[in-house]
C-alpha cells in the first residue's frame, strides 16, 4: 500500500518586502498608483514525484538549502504545494524542530499531554503514556516545572521522548538522530531502531551517511529542490560520496 505519494510537486516561497506584513503598507499599496514591487519567489521544490510504500525507510540527503526540510514539511502535510498533488495515507508523526511547538509557560508534564493529543491520542491514552515518557526523558522533578526553565537539551529530550512514545504510522524526522549528549543519542538511536522492525514508514533527513545507511533502505538525494538520485541506500550514498570527492578536489 502507498503511504505517501507526491505527483509533480513544486513549492514556492514568497519573499516579502520587510514591511508587507503590515496593514499600513497594504493600504498604501492599494491606494498608491506606484507600481507594486513584483513578488519575488523562490522555488524550494521543483517538480518532485515519488511514491513511498508502507514500511519503507527513506533517507533524504543533500546540502543545506537543498530543500530537505521543505520536502519533509510537505510530506507531513504541513506545507501545501504550489503545484502538484500530495497524497498521504495514514497518520504522520513529525519530528521536525525541537525548539518550537511548546507552551513554555506550561510544565513539561502538560506539554507532553498536549503533544500526545496533537498526535491523535485521547486524553486518557495520553495520561497512560506519560510516566514512560518522563522516565525516558530523564527529567525527574523538572517535569513539573515550566518549560521556560528548561535547557535546550532538556526540551530536546522531552520532545524526542514524547514524539516517539507512540508507534507512528508514518514517522517524519528532520536531522534528529544523534542529537543531545552521547548517552542520550545512543538511547534515541536504540528507540528508533525498534521502529525499524515495525512496519512503520520512516522518512528522515540527515547529513550523516552512517545514520542513513543504518536506518534506510532507500535514499533520495536532493539538490536545489530537485531529485538528483532516488534508489537503494548503497547506490545513492556511493554516488553522493563520489560526487563530493570529485568536487572537493
Amino acid at each position: 500500500m502507498i503511504a505517501v505519494e507526491l505527483k509533480n510537486v513544486s513549492l514556492d516561497y514568497y519573499f516579502d518586502n520587510e514591511d508587507s506584513y503590515s496593514l499600513k503598507s497594504a493600504l498604501l499599496n492599494f491606494y498608491s498608483k506606484a507600481k507594486r514591487p513584483v513578488d519575488k519567489t523562490f522555488r524550494a521544490l521543483n517538480n518532485i514525484s515519488f511514491i513511498i510504500n508502507n514500511g519503507e525507510k527513506v533517507g533524504i540527503i543533500g546540502l543545506n538549502g537543498s530543500g530537505k526540510t521543505t520536502l519533509l514539511r510537505t510530506v507531513s502535510g504541513i506545507f501545501h504545494p504550489t503545484k502538484g498533488k500530495v497524497t498521504i495515507n495514514g497518520v504522520v508523526s513529525p519530528l521536525l524542530d525541537f525548539n518550537t511547538g511548546f507552551e513554555y509557560h506550561l510544565t513539561g508534564y502538560e506539554n507532553i499531554q498536549i503533544r500526545l493529543m496533537f498526535l491523535g491520542l485521547s486524553k486518557k491514552e495520553a495520561q497512560e503514556k506519560t510516566p514512560q515518557i518522563i522516565e525516558f526523558s530523564e527529567l525527574g522533578d523538572f517535569i513539573y516545572q515550566p518549560m521556560r526553565t528548561y535547557s535546550a537539551g532538556m526540551s530536546l529530550r522531552l520532545a524526542f521522548a514524547t514524539s516517539t512514545a507512540i508507534h507512528p504510522e508514518i514517522l517524519v524526522a528532520d536531522e534528529v538522530i544523534g542529537t543531545g549528549d552521547a548517552q542520550f543519542a545512543i538511547k534515541a538511536k536504540k528507540r528508533l531502531e525498534n521502529f525499524l522492525s515495525l512496519d512503520c514508514t520512516m522518512i528522515l533527513s540527515s547529513h550523516s551517511m552512517d545514520i542513513v545507511r543504518n536506518f534506510c533502505n532507500r535514499i533520495i538525494w536532493l539538490k536545489n529542490g530537485e531529485i538528483l538520485a532516488d534508489g537503494s541506500a548503497d547506490d545513492v550514498i556511493k554516488e553522493y560520496e563520489e560526487f563530493f570527492k570529485n568536487t572537493g578536489k
Partner: protein
C-alpha cells in the same frame, strides 16, 4: 462548515485542554484567580452604574441591570476581534510542526471567550436577582440571541485569525478602533436616547448594537427583541461566515508560511 463541525467534535479534548491551560495561565500566581473576572465585572457595573444613574437622573436599579448585561456582551464582542487576531500567532509553533486542522485553534479561542461570557452572564443574572428583576423564562427568550452571538463569534474570530496573522498591526488598529465603536454602540445608554435626539442613524450603521439587544432585551423584558435586530444580526453573521470560509479556502495554505 461541515468539516469544521467534525473538527469541533473530534478534537474537543485537545482544544478544551488548551483553552483550560490558557485560562489557568492567565490566573496563575494570582490568589483570587478566576474571581477577578467577577470582581471586575461587579465593581464596574455597580459603581459606574450607580454614578451614571445619579448623573443622568435615572433609576439606579434599572440602569445597573442594563449596564451589566450590555458590558458583558460588549466584552465578548470585543474579544472576538482582539483575541481573534492572535489565534494563529500564538499557535505558530504548532502550525509549523503538526499537520492538523487550523480550526482547532479558532475553537480554542472560542472556548476561552465562552468561559468569560458564561461567568459574565451568571454575574449579570446575580445582579438581576439582586434587584428582583430576574425571571427564569427570560433565559428561554435569550436562546435565539445566544445562538446568533455564538455563530457571530465563530465567524468573526475566524476572520480575524487569518487577517491578524497576515497583518500584524491589525490588533493595534482594532484596539484603538474599539474605544470609538464603544461610544457609538448602545452599551452605556439605551438606543432610544439617540433616536429621540435625532441621531438614530448612528445605530443603524452599527450592527453590534443589535447583537447586544438580542441578549439584553430578553433578559430585561422577558420576551423576544424586535425582529429587525434578529434580521440585522443574522445578516452580519452570514457575511462574516462567508468571509471566514473564503479566507480559509484561499489563505489557509499560506498559514504555516506566515506563522
Amino acid at each position: 462548515m461541515k468539516t469544521d463541525i467534525s473538527v469541533a467534535i473530534k478534537y474537543f479534548d485537545l482544544y478544551y485542554f488548551l483553552a483550560k491551560q490558557d485560562l489557568k495561565n492567565r490566573f496563575r500566581r494570582s490568589y483570587l484567580g478566576i474571581s477577578w473576572v467577577i470582581i471586575h465585572q461587579l465593581t464596574f457595573s455597580l459603581v459606574a452604574g450607580f454614578i451614571w444613574a445619579k448623573l443622568w437622573g435615572i433609576e439606579a436599579s434599572n440602569f445597573i441591570s442594563f449596564l451589566t448585561i450590555g458590558s458583558v456582551i460588549w466584552a465578548f464582542i470585543a474579544s472576538s476581534l482582539t483575541e481573534g487576531c492572535t489565534t494563529f500567532i500564538t499557535a505558530q509553533g504548532y502550525l509549523k510542526q503538526i499537520p492538523l486542522p487550523q480550526s482547532i485553534f479558532i475553537f480554542r479561542t472560542m472556548l476561552t471567550a465562552f468561559f468569560y461570557l458564561g461567568v459574565g452572564i451568571s454575574t449579570a443574572v446575580v445582579v438581576l436577582l439582586l434587584f428582583n428583576k430576574f425571571k427564569l423564562a427570560s433565559l428561554f427568550y435569550m436562546l435565539p440571541g445566544m445562538a446568533i452571538l455564538i455563530c457571530y463569534f465563530y465567524g468573526t474570530s475566524g476572520v480575524m485569525a487569518y487577517l491578524g496573522l497576515r497583518y500584524r498591526d491589525l490588533q493595534h488598529a482594532i484596539t484603538s478602533l474599539l474605544s470609538l465603536i464603544f461610544i457609538i454602540t448602545p452599551v452605556l445608554y439605551p438606543p432610544e436616547v439617540l433616536v429621540k435626539k435625532g441621531v438614530g442613524f448612528v445605530l443603524y450603521l452599527n450592527p453590534l448594537g443589535s447583537l447586544i439587544e438580542i441578549i439584553r432585551y430578553p433578559l430585561l423584558n422577558y420576551g423576544f427583541a424586535e425582529t429587525k435586530h434578529y434580521l440585522i444580526t443574522l445578516t452580519l453573521v452570514s457575511l462574516t461566515l462567508l468571509f471566514k470560509f473564503w479566507l480559509k479556502k484561499n489563505w489557509g495554505r499560506y498559514v504555516p508560511f506566515w506563522a
